[in-house]
Symmetry: C2
């Protein structure tokens, strides 16, 4: 079975880690949101790509999910001494990634090409595709101002109410994105934030239409009325006018969905096939367990 | 007394640290070789400027003299995992400096301007002037090939015989360099390598002539027939055809010299006023002691 997963950061990365354990590398392609990418300290930072890559390489910080295990922040401390920007905490090991990527991009290589070289060097088997090679920044309209995604999420700790999410830059998917979806037996939408992690991918030219032609299984990022991670719950309230629930997620994806995976005990959304199981992922074995349940569901789809 | 010191890396930095302890900050200007500067990991690296800055800030690695005390190399380890270049060991804290500098240069600020901001942030009182704002790379002709300075010194461990040292790029001193020398009561040439640390400065338009108009005191980098640090001894043999000695240094600087400071017990060069003392610097107190002796000598110059 050929599988494509669309992914944001931590939640998506963990499910993709499970999928990577349950599938042959050549059967899994992960298309990763680049709407959060930004330039910091002169380097192009790709938070979701790196979270997925580090997680699949077994290098991610086990609790926080982003960044590297055992990370240090000595460069950051020096930047602070110089009065430089310290609001985004780039770690020392992580800087190695950003420095390598920045040089390759400066030499004219595409983000797709660089990402492929980096993930191979870290021993990550499945293909990681950035959703786009050109910058495609997500902007957040708040009552007071329009913020870049990282300014909103990290700089302002996701506090300002989100009135609208906008995608800027050319809506061109990276080479291979639509073809990978076309070749997939199933498309999986992991428990990532629909508005700022999955929608940026779906909004690219031809992507939503390609996904709509495939069976699609979404995993609810809302469990027990709360987001498993990150600022999703208030976004559902302000953007959809709904209480946070699997039904709100189902309503958001609408006709795209073939089936949905929700937490056991949560109310199943109406009108879509549902699997209820334990969706909050723990260690790598637990991620693989959830992935296998999702793949079993995919095989049973009509 | 207004003092200008020309400086390379470790030896120069240590004497300048002593001068900084012995003088008011406004009375000392340090003009630093930038011929060793190069671009690595996409960042402009200024080894001598940083060695002087870290040393005067009290942050330098106490034994090796370059780099930072307590430095870690986690970014480097990551770069190595990606198969990136690891022959030049950039530390994590040090990267903070390079990242801040690279961003400022990319924003169009001059190296002089950036250097001033960085040294102030680290609490370094005396003015540090890069010898030039434009790149002015030193090249090393060896029997087999021409190498960039860092390729020769670090990549090849300074082993290939030096047949010629060449300075490339526009020979324009940075703003303020000639004026600082013109305003100095004495110019000090610390125990830096004359060929690759001091000559690059002297070779800039108008610098040698300005230095020649001032009293000049050089400290011999040769002690007991050996270089205190670095690959100077074989360079004297191959470039000057002389055994390494204070006399060879005196011959190299020639008519520029007003007086020379040599290690007690070494043979004094003929034809120049000489002070013999303990010149191999230990801790900061020892550096200040040597600096005071040199300044006393300067006050006694005719």
């Amino acid at each position: 079975m050929k599988v494509v997963a669309l992914s944001g950061g931590v939640g998506g990365a963990r499910l993709c880690d499970g999928l990577a354990a349950a599938l042959s590398p050549e059967d899994l392609t992960i298309i990763v949101n680049t709407g959060d990418d930004f330039v910091h300290w002169g380097l192009t930072i790709c938070p979701d790509l790196d979270t997925v890559m580090y997680t699949l390489a077994g290098l991610a910080h086990p609790e926080q999910g982003w960044g590297l295990a055992g990370e240090t922040f000595h460069a950051l401390a020096m930047v602070e001494r110089y009065g430089g920007p310290a609001w985004f905490r780039l770690g020392d090991r992580d800087l190695g990634t950003h420095l390598m990527r920045a040089q390759a991009l400066a030499a004219g290589r595409s983000l797709t090409d660089v990402t492929d070289a980096l993930r191979r060097a870290l021993g990550v088997g499945p293909r990681l595709l950035p959703m786009s090679d050109a910058p495609r920044p997500t902007l957040i309209d708040t009552p007071d101002s329009t913020l870049s995604f990282q300014d909103w999420l990290v700089g302002q700790r996701g506090a300002p109410r989100v009135e609208r999410v906008r995608f800027t830059g050319p809506p061109r998917p990276a080479a291979g994105v639509v073809a990978a979806i076309d070749a997939a037996d199933v498309v999986i939408l992991p428990p990532s934030n629909p508005y700022v992690s999955i929608d940026p991918i779906l909004a690219l030219d031809g992507v939503r239409a390609a996904v709509a032609r495939r069976p699609v299984i979404a995993v609810s990022p809302i469990v027990g009325g709360r987001a498993v991670k990150g600022p999703l719950a208030p976004m559902i309230e302000s953007l959809a006018g709904l209480p946070p629930s699997p039904a709100a997620i189902a309503a958001h994806y609408g006709a795209l969905l073939t089936a949905m995976v929700i937490e056991r005990g949560d109310d199943a959304p109406a009108g879509v096939a549902t699997l209820a199981t334990a969706t909050v992922m723990g260690d790598r074995a637990d991620r693989a367990r959830l992935a296998r349940e999702i793949l079993d569901l995919a095989r049973r789809l009509p």
